[in-house]
Symmetry: C2
């Protein structure tokens, strides 16, 4: 053992970091740069800017010298109050007796939760396909992601989740509307998972970053609204998608009060406080409100329709389960090509970029994630033309 | 073992988080609020605002819709270029062949470093008194802080550090100018530590957040500038202190290129990218340059003089080693009172707040940290009057 710890070994990267997958997004980005003119259906962002007021409101508030100093570790009081009001009005979550913490983006809220509740070797249940940063965060924490496949429509498989629980399980994670599939989970299934967690003494971590993005009458449901959910439900949100303000890095979490001392320690250590200018901008965004986002939903639904129609014209080797949320389509391709190889061919020969499913944990079969939120309709139309042409030629 | 994992236990806070100390700052903050009129010598910040241009420059740049989207994981190119120029001109660090990464504050840069190089059970050497967030980050990562006392002048004890190295050691941390002591480490000692690390295959993590705050001819020295330091030195910086912009949360790190894949994974998982508006503000601050900070140094040196003079009038039970940096005095008090009890008495009976040394790892003896950067001269004078009166009465 001592031999293994001789100098060259000691300067190696930590084992924990070697267990974390390399992000695929930069790899695809590199291929895009190497193939000018490529249209990207890769980026998980919206095409619209934030409400214009946020910059000016923020600039105004920053005239107060105190606003350049550290803020409170959990966030600015007026923002926390606005978030509690939003949670009550939109999510049905009465946050009294729970704690709300502002974070530098939704990812950090997930990291806070994992570090607070799980030790190295503990298990956290993810659904596959998973959101890659969740899987990376669990490994970074030295914990084990336990992967439960969703069904053919990318919906939760409650019994399979129940069977995956072991004495080391600490939490079940659900994301609805889902990244990368776009699935909006059924209320009944989310209630079943939440009850399962309550019965087994597990946390239910509910990531709702895409809460406003639903179509065809699908309704977003917040498990934190369930009676009895307060003591074991950790709900995660982001302003990045809804308000087109990913650059500002503001998310938040609602959680049992018992977790607050832990999350304060973590956030003090990693961040000290969420960036104050971004919090002031977030306050401006919340004043604009959900209506700001909703005005873009009808055009986005139209783009979604175009994407699904284009895909439906492909043959039986391309499967697109019916989903009604977010701004993703997660396509199963019946081919012997691996997903990264297929994505590379689509960029190099057809000028269109999508994200290979392997990065979302789909190591069996070939899957592609198509993101249609970042582009204008005509650009999506052009991109989908290239994609369907490419898929028809390569695997059709 | 299975019994221990029954539901109530499973919902407990993680062991890792239970091993992390509770931040003391909020405890002192609570006492201050409960005792109105208290003057705080507790806050580790400067009294001056950032250069005025940063808000307007940032607001201007944010008119570009692309600036509201995710930025690159390691930071915006023009900011990285400005930081490389600053490192060359001011720190003597040729960053070619090294990597520069922007973070959401200096703390996050430290967390990035620890997670990248150390696994649970690994050891990282800190000097005592330590900066509490360093100790907390090491425990959060499941690693062990190995504590080496500084000498009577709060200077490095190179031989003691050498003796503390074991096969599990991964890094030696130095902070100069130091928080909480204000000590500026001797160049020779920093060179010795850096050489020791090179010889033993360890990283030297050099935290230089207070680099501009030196007095009485003391010179800041960056270990990253040493010939041969590039492959094992991780240098950490912050804009929070120098530019009075703690609220914006911008720090950065310079490190061996071999660490970049690890730090990209960590930062992608925790943060995705540093907040873009804050980065644009940071760019504005760097355009103002170090001269902006330096104009406040003469008045701060004057305040420092006042603090030291007041303390020198106390009896032999109060010891104040001579230090020449940051904006702290770390005072040893010869008393049977524990430091928190003494701090509480000073707030409640004398209306002045300082930070107890226990939070910096000084569990033997009674120490107090006095921070004089956040207040105007006349307020510091009043606070020091209260403090010396209180100390004279309580322990004099």
């Amino acid at each position: 053992m001592t031999n293994d710890l001789s100098p060259p070994h000691r300067m190696a990267l930590s084992a924990r970091i070697q267990a974390v997958q390399s992000p695929i997004i930069p790899v695809i980005g590199e291929l895009i740069r190497a193939n000018p003119g490529t249209i990207s259906l890769g980026q998980g962002i919206v095409h619209y800017p934030p409400p214009g007021e946020i910059v000016s409101r923020m600039a105004e508030a920053m005239a107060d010298p105190a606003r350049h100093r550290y803020g409170h570790v959990t966030g600015l009081t007026p923002l926390l109050e606005a978030l509690r009001a939003k949670l009550a009005a939109e999510n049905g979550i009465d946050s009294e007796g729970r704690e709300v913490v502002v974070t530098a983006g939704g990812n950090m809220a997930f990291v806070n939760a994992v570090l607070a509740i799980a030790d190295p070797g503990d298990e956290i249940i993810l659904q596959t396909p998973y959101y890659f940063n969740h899987e990376m965060a669990i490994r970074l924490a030295g914990c084990t992601p336990v992967l439960v496949p969703t069904d053919g429509d990318y919906q939760l498989q409650v019994e399979a989740i129940r069977e995956a629980i072991t004495p080391r399980t600490r939490a079940v994670v659900t994301i609805s509307p889902n990244n990368p599939t776009g699935a909006v989970y059924e209320e009944a299934a989310l209630r079943a998972i939440n009850a399962l967690c309550a019965a087994d003494g597990l946390y239910h971590i509910s990531d709702e970053a895409y809460e406003y993005f639903t179509y065809d009458g699908a309704r977003h449901f917040s498990p934190g609204a369930i009676d009895g959910a307060a003591a074991h439900t950790i709900s995660l949100y982001s302003l990045s998608k809804a308000y087109g303000m990913a650059a500002w890095r503001i998310g938040y979490m609602v959680m049992p009060g018992a977790l607050l001392p832990a999350v304060k320690k973590i956030q003090d250590t990693i961040l000290i406080c969420p960036p104050v200018p971004s919090q002031l901008a977030a306050l401006g965004a919340l004043e604009a409100g959900a209506g700001y986002c909703r005005q873009f939903l009808a055009p986005m639904a139209d783009v979604r329709h175009l994407v699904l129609e284009e895909l439906s014209r492909l043959g039986p080797r391309i499967t697109v389960p019916a989903v009604r949320g977010a701004f993703y389509a997660f396509v199963a391709v019946d081919t012997d090509l691996d997903a990264l190889a297929l994505a590379r061919l689509l960029i190099e020969a057809y000028g269109v970029a999508v994200i290979p499913g392997t990065t979302f944990g789909m190591t069996e079969g070939c899957y592609l994630r198509i993101a249609y939120g970042a582009l204008q309709r005509e650009t999506v139309a052009e991109a989908m033309g290239r994609l369907t042409k490419g898929l028809a030629a390569l695997v059709g």
